[in-house]
């Protein structure tokens, strides 16, 4: 992955050069002597204009225009925020985002620490738990949890009532905490992956220093290790927060029965007839301000401190012996596994092999029919499977290449306006998929590009949607690499591209592959933009799942979810195998 990312950089630079070659004369000569990074910078600006600026500008213009006359107006904003209920929805979203992010940190940080820094048994198991939790589309997990924790029929509640003879249920998924918990059980992998990739890069020297000075394992972890990976954890937490407020599926499935209105379900209301896209656009605008604010906060928090821990001077990593405590940590991982993967999956797998899932477990209710129907009889299923993985791979590659290049420019301050580029990269995250899809649709569906219904449209939309993840990942990695190694390349006569290709990319290989897998997985389960941009030839599994959920066809839905998970797992397994072996070689 990293090598292709690095190869792509000179390629895009070359393409820019070729493009720039057309106007002759001064410009050509000037460009010939320009640093490749300058050309790359220009190309990147072009890419960001296509991916982010234009669609968002269309949105902004929509929000400021009267729907009927097209004249300038602020009335859309008045309509969007003129009611208590609408403002409450925004506050609910913020509270939900904060609580979910906090639960994620509690679940994931101990796991990441134990898996990365200690001799806990089953470290691979922790990693697999996270991956499994992550590839479960949020709406599938939510349906699983409704089966488990529904107040009347949930398995947990039935078991509780049977065991204690109580007439009251113990858990209720249809509540604010239920909703936050279900979201967190799906989103904690963000925090885990960010924290772990940070922890993996820290050498033991600093912990050794603390130990020598008399600090025990606990104190060292709290005062040295975790603060060092603060930026990575914070990046993960912020992503969960933003992901939560932009999430549509789970709040719709659980929040509406729980009578909790959030931003995305409110946005949906603006799309009821009469459609008020301009009010929806206005309603979505403050979310952009929130992103900007969060990025600012992150910068202020991290600004003065040096977090560079990977230097050119080597360093050794040794697992911390935990003694009996390692079983406690392992127990925690098992608990998270049960909650986030095993329990909802059992419910879904049962449904996927059931003739009628309402009948529960019994042998005469078992069938392979749902799978054979999808694999051999369904017309759309196969093309949806192919589309899903082609789109996911293409957008993951595109996003990681762009993100690495921008992260490099920003972190190394190669060119001006780096922070603007960074902001543009992060902005798509808080634009709920359906709103972003409208921006894309307005910008690219019609003439001159006519991209509606094409694969290009889906790939562009997915790339934009997950560019923030790729960027946050790349930037967190860049943060940890000291420039001195690249400076060494420069001193020895290598150009900047050489430095990126031979030094930065190999060092970031893990972070880049992690970022690629993240985007890949997210793109395989993307729903909210896809549902709006999809054409007859570009349907994906998530769109089919949504259709099946709409028609209450839960057995086939679960089987299709199962197929999605199996194929995704296979891809992820291959990725892990490739990078895992490489990683081991490098360490030993």
């Amino acid at each position: 992955m990293s090598s292709s990312a690095a190869d792509a950089a000179p390629k895009t630079a070359a393409a820019a050069r070729a493009a720039a070659a057309a106007p002759e004369g001064v410009l050509l000569r000037r460009l010939r002597y320009a640093e490749p990074a300058t050309l790359l910078w220009i190309v990147l600006i072009g890419v960001l204009v296509v991916l982010v600026v234009w669609p968002v500008a269309e949105l902004l213009l929509t929000s400021l225009r009267s729907a009927r006359t097209g004249t300038f107006t602020l009335s859309n904003y008045a309509a969007a925020y003129g009611r208590t209920r609408y403002v409450d929805a925004l506050l609910n979203s913020l509270a939900l985002g904060a609580v979910s992010a906090a639960i994620c940190a509690v679940l994931a940080v101990p796991m990441a620490w134990a898996a990365s820094r200690t001799d806990m048994p089953g470290r691979g198991f922790a990693w697999l738990t996270v991956l499994a939790a992550f590839i479960i589309p949020p709406y599938l997990g939510a349906i699983g949890w409704i089966l488990l924790a529904g107040p009347n029929s949930g398995w947990i509640n039935q078991a509780w009532m049977w065991l204690t003879g109580s007439e009251h249920s113990i858990v209720n998924v249809y509540s604010f905490w239920g909703l936050a918990f279900v979201i967190a059980l799906n989103a904690y992998p963000f925090v885990f992956i960010f924290a772990k990739s940070g922890l993996d890069l820290i050498s033991s020297e600093m912990e050794d220093a603390a130990n020598i000075l008399g600090a025990g394992t606990w104190l060292t972890t709290m005062r040295i290790t975790l603060p060092l990976v603060g930026p990575a954890i914070l990046a993960g937490v912020i992503l969960v927060f933003l992901e939560t407020i932009a999430l549509f599926g789970t709040p719709a499935i659980i929040g509406i029965p729980a009578r909790i209105n959030v931003v995305t379900t409110q946005l949906w209301q603006f799309f009821e007839a009469p459609v008020r896209a301009e009010v929806a656009a206005a309603y979505a605008m403050p979310l952009l301000l929130i992103t900007a604010l969060l990025i600012l906060v992150q910068r202020l928090l991290l600004g003065r401190k040096g977090y560079v821990s990977q230097t050119g001077k080597g360093g050794e990593r040794r697992p911390i012996p935990l003694g009996p405590l390692r079983w406690v940590m392992f127990g925690w991982c098992v608990l998270v596994f049960l909650l986030s993967v095993a329990a909802p999956m059992v419910a879904l797998v049962q449904a996927s092999f059931a003739k009628a899932w309402g009948r529960g477990f019994s042998f005469d209710n078992l069938t392979l029919g749902n799978y054979t129907y999808l694999l051999f009889e369904h017309d759309a299923a196969w093309s949806a499977v192919v589309n899903t993985f082609v789109f996911a791979a293409a957008s993951a590659t595109f996003a990681v290449v762009v993100a690495l290049a921008i992260a490099y420019i920003v972190k190394r301050r190669v060119m001006p306006f780096g922070s603007l580029l960074a902001f543009l990269c992060m902005a798509p995250f808080v634009i709920p998929g359906i709103v972003m899809a409208i921006g894309f649709y307005a910008a690219y569906a019609g003439p001159p590009l006519l991209l509606y219904g094409t694969s290009a449209m889906m790939i562009l939309a997915f790339t934009t949607r997950f560019l923030p993840i790729a960027y946050a990942n790349g930037a967190a990695g860049m943060q940890m690499i000291h420039p001195e190694m690249e400076e060494a390349v420069r001193i020895l006569g290598g150009g900047r591209i050489t430095a990126i290709r031979r030094v930065v990319a190999p060092l970031l290989k893990k972070a880049l592959l992690g970022g690629w897998l993240l985007v890949f997985i997210l793109a395989t389960r993307e729903l909210s933009a896809a549902i709006f941009l999809v054409g007859p030839e570009t349907r994906t599994i998530s769109v089919l799942l949504y259709d099946l959920s709409e028609e209450g066809n839960f057995e086939v839905l679960s089987a299709l979810g199962g197929i999605l998970l199996v194929i995704t797992l296979a891809f992820v397994g291959i990725g892990m195998k490739l990078i895992g072996r490489d990683f081991m070689l490098r360490r030993e």
Partner: protein, 356 residues
């Protein structure tokens, strides 16, 4: 048809059923080899101009919509239907975007929300066309637009569904008002009028029959509120809820797989949902679009719908198992104006009463 609680004509059903028995040959003329003359004219014109039809549809689930598109392709080789299936609001949003961008993507528009047609017609965005095949559909479904811009091509029902394992036969609700019985506290499931056109129309109808008081009393039973009307089927299947106001077709489709579900056609009326289709003004494929409208009303399209557990606009095609012939039940339905004006009102009232 336009009066709220009038029974949908039994006579019309009877007459059509009789026609179906007496003249199978007339109806077999629907096959590819024996097209009716008006269909052949359109087909040949569409072939000559190399026309294809793009169909934005919110009717049916995607499988059924695709199957109808395929059946059209098979019936009329060389004229293809491009099926773009989404929910009603997204389809309408997409059409509006097309119109704003002056792109002519959509030839035939099929929404479940009658209000869309009222608005499109008022804005002069629909092409007037009265398909000849409208004469073959159930009489009361004809002429929903007196000016002939849009026509019923799909129907559905909202009735009482229940979990047959949890609710004993003698306890099963028979009337809509039975759902208000305190015995169903924490046991009722409904959809949301802000998401589902079916639910919105049902709410308008209940308000018309019993006043908004129906819903303030329903709230005392703390109903589970989903989004789509089909969410009631999911909730009943899981046993989370026991009785609901749900869709006839989806409930029976799920029951046919062995799920413990049943339906009652309420004594105070089964809500009939009428979903129209129309040709979009300025279509570049006028013959293919017209041919497609004829096809949607033809026998072949009805057969495909029945195979996929959809209710149909014709009475000469046998229904799927478990479905009652709608001529045997009391049908109720608000007028187009009541739906168009009522749904925005009841959505507001709904959010005040239920808080979401």
């Amino acid at each position: 048809m336009n009066s709220g609680d009038r029974r949908l004509g039994r006579r019309a059903f009877g007459a059509l059923a009789g026609l179906g028995l007496a003249a199978p040959r007339v109806l077999r003329a629907q096959t590819a080899t024996e097209m009716a003359p008006h269909e052949r004219r359109l087909y040949e014109a569409a072939r000559a101009r190399n026309e294809q039809v793009t169909w934005y549809t919110a009717h049916y689930n995607s499988e059924t919509a695709e199957a109808i598109g395929r059946a059209f392709d098979e019936t009329y080789p060389g004229v293809q239907a491009k099926v773009v299936r989404t929910t009603a609001q997204v389809a309408f949003q997409r059409l509006s975007q097309d119109m704003r961008a002056r792109v002519q993507n959509c030839d035939v528009f099929s929404s479940t929300d009658v209000g869309h047609y009222v608005q499109l017609k008022a804005d002069g965005k629909l092409e007037k066309y009265v398909p000849e095949n409208t004469s073959q559909i159930i009489a009361d479904l004809r002429n929903i637009d007196p000016d002939g811009f849009y026509h019923t091509t799909s129907i559905g029902t909202v009735l009482i569904n229940f979990n047959a394992d949890r609710v004993k036969p003698e306890d099963r609700p028979r009337k809509w008002t039975d759902l208000l019985d305190p015995r169903w506290k924490d046991r009722v499931t409904v959809g949301h009028p802000g998401f589902s056109g079916y639910v919105g129309t049902w709410v308008v109808m209940m308000r018309k029959l019993y006043g908004w008081d129906y819903f303030t009393r329903l709230e005392r039973n703390k109903p589970q509120i989903g989004r789509s009307i089909n969410d009631t089927v999911t909730m009943l299947n899981s046993g989370e809820r026991w009785v609901g106001a749900g869709p006839g077709a989806t409930t029976l489709r799920s029951a046919s797989r062995g799920n413990p579900l049943g339906v009652n056609y309420p004594e105070d009326g089964t809500l009939l949902m009428i979903s129209p289709s129309a040709i979009v003004k300025g279509t570049r494929n006028p013959n293919a679009a017209r041919l497609f409208m004829e096809f949607l009303l033809g026998k072949r399209a009805s057969e495909v719908q029945v195979q996929n557990y959809s209710e149909i606009v014709r009475s000469d095609v046998p229904l799927f198992p478990g479905a009652k012939n709608l001529s045997e039940v009391k049908l109720i339905r608000p007028t187009t104006e009541e739906i168009d004006q009522g749904i925005p009102e009841v959505k507001e009232l709904w959010r005040e009463t239920f808080g979401v």
